[in-house]
Symmetry: C2
Subunit: 172 residues, 2 copies
DNA sequence: GTCTATAAGTAGATAGAC
DNA sequence: GTCTATCTACTTATAGAC
């Protein structure tokens, strides 16, 4: 991947996250990235190719993010790491995740990247003696998702107070 | 409000919810609503006026939706009604609520319509002897929000199993 | 004469081609 | 890197209905 290609993707990510896909023109991307508009089409064929590339990045980034949880063998640590997940996101990646959450509302967006994560949570709750481990996992996943949204929309501080509270709720 | 004005709003709602605000042209709205494009601007001044009208509707609809909870005096019923909230939404209103959740990701969207709801939940938990009533309320609000999103994206059935589980969790 | 509606425009932006 | 056919939000001219 050339520097200019990377630069185009980085700018597209930021603009898509802020102004939406349809609210962002290819000419604006080119201008902000300091490249000619034609280069965008050379690298990505059409505007949608840009989005596809960003979504592909997301698949890999989510995989890396939940990997340490999937290989964890201590059920308590699985839960603790899961709750910590949204708080551990570097702020520089917020636009990236914002875009992913926005895209979830598009009709043709592939879901279920978190399926292995929920399976692992189920395993953890099961191991800790919870009877309805699956439901517990789904509820905790809901909480984590909603906290993530809160962090992305209003900043980490808006949710920080909840972290200790939830940890205690599940691990004491 | 004339029939044609209502018709324009109804079509705009559906198209904005499906294709996004920037992904929807005024000409398409006019065509689908069976009116001339000019009529949109006569009634709503500019395209944004359409959105404003829809958001205004939302403010009122949310108020009506949470009102029965706010006037409830039995704390257990407050929690039960709150958990029931997303499941009680008529399916015909799903596009409407989808649009509201999408708009939450826009920068200039007014938040905090749910503040009185969280206050009431806090009051309920406090009344039931919970020590950290405020945090409990925030967590339950997170769960309800995330379940709502699940219902709007994947249908009511995808979340139905969680309802009894959460009710039992909080009310037994 | 105001209100509701339309059809036919305009100037600028847009994705993509050359 | 210039060009263009198409689409965009919005306007103007016009006119019947109450």
């Amino acid at each position: 991947m050339t520097d200019k290609k990377k630069q185009i993707l980085a700018v597209a990510l930021e603009l898509f996250a802020n102004d939406g896909f349809n609210g962002t023109s290819t000419s604006k991307i080119a201008k902000e990235a300091g490249v000619s508009e034609g280069l965008i089409f050379r690298h990505f064929e059409h505007k949608n190719g840009l989005l596809n590339a960003l979504v592909q990045q997301a698949v890999e980034r989510i995989r890396l993010l939940i990997e340490p949880i999937l290989i964890e063998t201590d059920p308590k640590k699985v839960i603790q790491k899961s709750i910590d997940l949204p708080f551990a996101l570097p702020e520089s990646e917020y636009p990236f995740w914002k875009l992913q959450f926005k895209l979830k509302w598009e009709n043709d967006y592939e879901q279920d990247k978190m399926r292995p994560f929920i399976e692992k949570l189920t395993w953890a709750f099961s191991n800790l003696g919870y009877i309805q481990a699956r439901k517990e996992a789904e509820v905790l996943n809901h909480i984590i998702e909603s906290i993530s949204i809160g962090i992305l929309r209003e900043g980490r501080k808006s949710q920080e107070g909840l972290k200790e509270f939830i940890l205690r709720k599940y691990l004491k």
